[in-house]
Symmetry: C3
Subunit: 137 residues, 3 copies
């Protein structure tokens, strides 16, 4: 069994931002030489998410609005007693989840036609890390 | 290490529908001959989900009502400028997630007493694909 | 490829409770001797969750309030016609998800600085099981 681990550092220009990282994940797969297996793509921070969905700018804005509705910024989260102001970023991360598993078959991401991998930043403008771990043969 | 990959095509009669696919996943495991490892069960579309929960018809209706409350159909999603009308289907998919990992021990799904695997369709009435990938020994 | 499977039984004193299980997962990893791979940590019940986020008591209370807002206790869930009263516990479990995959590199949980693994109980005060399955080399 082979393993290939890569770390990306992402520093968004905006507080919340959605980045298509599919090509970075594919590049990591090709480096690994793995033909069968899977890839874990996981945020290493607790105010970010990784998800699989559409590369369509209108939808991405819909997702952002929807997250702000279900997990809004508010001044009065208990977490803010620590001096933080990012309670909503944690809740958005929990709603979207911090990781995905991507299947690998015949040396390619075994995806349907519209599946793309996104990194969703909910507390950006500073360096945040992401792990891509390919496992298989 | 062994891999066994199977694709299911699902074409629901309703726009939203919840299908218990546990026996299909078990059949794929038995075909594989794998005794230890795990199974990735993942929707290949971005308007569907895969989740693990109860096989109880009242709860399934509760889940459907709840999803419609948290991620309702609305005419005015930005995504609809593309001509689509399924913005809510994408959000429901994100809320429920598109995949699960099932542990395999001694040749069986290593589940608790009530765990069942469901495919949740949020934009059906057309063929949609699902991947079941068994990995282990 | 090596596999090491451990089951924990958790019996919370409260109906809803959030337990940091990172050290139990680490202990299971060390027992396994596995240096590269991953760990599946999954609730074996359908009214509990496993998630990765911050070990900060204010945030944990924020998460609990937020879950009660998005998936509230209500007497009138259809699921309750079975005699159950825990419809909200199922919905909370679906929102938070029942499992995570933890990457393992150089014999350690390959986590960022604040990532901790939590078991979230939404229908406790009785024994509930959890599986920790380490897979790798």
């Amino acid at each position: 069994m082979k393993f290939h681990t890569k770390y990306l550092t992402i520093n968004t220009t905006k507080h919340r931002e959605y980045l298509n990282i599919t090509s970075e994940v594919e590049a990591t797969l090709y480096e690994s030489g793995i033909r069968e297996g899977m890839i874990l793509v996981s945020a290493m921070h607790i105010t970010a998410a990784v998800y699989v969905n559409d590369s369509e700018s209108g939808l991405i804005q819909d997702i952002d609005d929807w997250l702000e509705e279900l997990a809004p910024f508010r001044p009065d989260y208990r977490h803010h007693r620590t001096g933080e102001t990012n309670g909503d970023s944690h809740l958005k991360s929990l709603l979207m989840h911090h990781e995905v598993i991507v299947p690998v078959t015949n040396g390619r991401l075994d995806f349907g036609p519209w599946q793309q991998i996104y990194y969703a930043e909910f507390d950006g403008q500073r360096p945040k890390r992401l792990i891509i771990k390919v496992m298989g043969e």
